[in-house]
Amino acid sequence: MEAFTVHKGIAAPLDRVNVDTDMIIPKQFLRKIERTGFGQHLFHELRYLDYEGTKENPDFVLNQAAYRPATVLVARDNFGCGSSREHAPWALADYGFRVIVAPSFADIFANNCVKNGILLVQLKSQDVDELFRQVLEQPGAEIAADLPRQILTDTKGGEHAFEINDFAKECLLKGLDQIGWTLQHEDKIKDYESRLRDERSWLA
């Protein structure tokens, strides 16, 4: 996984509440057995006018020239709700997104993003409203996220502090192999399994 420290990039506004993972990557693209190549299908039903994905919807934000190269997404409440499909962060990352800013994120989606080097920045609704105003007024303007300092810098240089769980931060900063991290504690897993045999033998 690519490590995350500081990222500055063009921000695109996606002004919809409850963007679910079906909307991020519809089911017809889940039949792959690889992790790659999902970016071209990101937001398929919003992004294209036809089922085959050959005609772009000019009204969709990522089809507008200034926002097309965006790597920061500014979104609304409950982003990533619904299905647990990790194909959603795979598609976002494959398109090029490294940072998503919203007032709230769905739980499983948030876990999945950490595993894929995407930084989720949760800010108060009024701060997100301000970001929407800025990126709509000035298409193509950049937002920067500094993970070590936990600061998001808006297009006008305003700084917004954000919270992140220490472990998620470490994983992102180091691009950590999480299975490797857990396996450092394999002795504890073995201890647990032997306790299980003693205490709840029907499960061991």
């Binding site: 002004d15 919809r16 509440v17 409850n18 679910d20 079906d22 909307m23 519809p26 089911k27 017809q28 889940l30 039949r31 792959k32 057995i33 690889e34 992790r35 039903e45 089922y51 609304r76 409440d77 409950n78 709700c81 619904g82 299905s83 647990s84 499909r85 990790e86 962060p89 709230s104 769905a106 739980d107 499983i108 876990n111 999945n112 595993k115 894929n116 769980n165 220490d166 472990f167 470490e170 999480q178 299975i179 991290w181 857990t182 396996l183 504690h185 394999e186 504890k188 897993i189 201890d191 647990y192 399994e193 299980l196 709840r200 033998s201 029907w202 499960l203």
Partner: protein, 471 residues
Amino acid sequence: MSGKTMYDKIWDAHLVRESQGDTAIIYIDRHLIHEVTSPQAFEGLRLTHRKVRRPEKTFATMDHNVSTRTKDWSLVEETSRIQMETLAKNCRDFNVILYDFKHQDQGIVHVIGPEMGITQPGLTIVCGDSHTSTHGAFGALAFGIGTSEVEHVLATQTLQQNKSKSMLISIEGTLGFGVTPKDIILYIIGQIGTAGATGYVVEYAGSAIRALTMEGRMTICNMSIEAGARAGMIAPDDTTYAYLKDRDHSPTGDDWEEAVAYWRTLPSDPDAVFDHELHIKAEDIKPQVTWGTSPGQVTDVEGTVPDPDDFTDPVARAGARNALEYMGLKPGTKISDITIDKAFLGSCTNGRIEDLRVAAEIIKGKKVHKDVQAIVVPGSGRVRRQAEREGLDRIFSEAGFEWRFAGCSMCLGMNDDQLTPGQRCASSSNRNFEGRQGPGGRTHLMSPQMVAIAALEGKICDIRNYLPKSA
């Protein structure tokens, strides 16, 4: 010091390593996998030369993209077939038990886990599917995970987890005539919103919950994710133990006694403190129908489609406006005036034998409306066989329902069952998202009983006007 919640107890019993300023490691008792979210996890294992640590704790089935029309491999669409063949190969290579497409007990992962007794109280159960919350109905801690976490569980039989906050939702009283478990959970989501339980594990309690069968409890826990919860759970009791006795994977003999004694220690202590509590009167709940594209956009069946301008919150207003445009509905339309093109009875929410029984009772001797295509998809091979033993298949077929094999079918449109653009469906499933049941498809979520009635009448109906009171 206050007592422990059931969540606290199960959490503590599964701690492999406590959080030391980083994250806790918890042990996973049961891992369920299916064809869609597992291929990349096995690929990851191969690339890092890792094994499945405890293959006997993992159970695989094929459900999301199987056809429910045929058991003929040669008719399965190619990308789906590749995904199913990949699962079969992965299970062979890594020694995992698989209930494949042709196995008589194949079915939706959240239907077969409980019916085989794989699901038990006090367990941690995960699956790469958000509706894993279903298994919480047995007093288990069960939740959906992503594919990287599937790989993590395969390799380590553990997960890295941060503890969630706890929420108690109690429903006291007696459910009104025609009100079902589906209405309870839709009502709750309507009250707290689709992010209302984000960051929480929810425990459902109260006399209305205690009175439910296991099937009803599963329907409620299943849709916890639709309120944003990490998991939903219900304390085990005699109803739970009676359901589990003599199932394939249930403990037997002395082990059974020992297990039940342990299960009885699981319910939350009377003095347990929850981070948040919500108290609902069962009598306030009426039959529910969704009008929008999010499960929280729901109202009573006797209600009307709301006017977006009546929402004070600008974001909710915009959401309602989008939803009505997509759904092709006008504010003020009576819910009971909405006509439908399709009726779908099935899914991990409402595809169990009890759901089929209540629906069959309604349609017995009647005919599906001439403008409606209706399908009934049993949740598993066992549900299908049980229904056939009871003659339910004939009742459905004679009424004009298509009688299918087990699978996820039209709940998510990953297979050959899909709505076409603009088609409107009365659905017993769990998500009314845009395009969920097929691009441009319009979904109204409701109880299986109300789906059955809608199929007969060609429109959404209030079950309370339809059933004789004695039913």
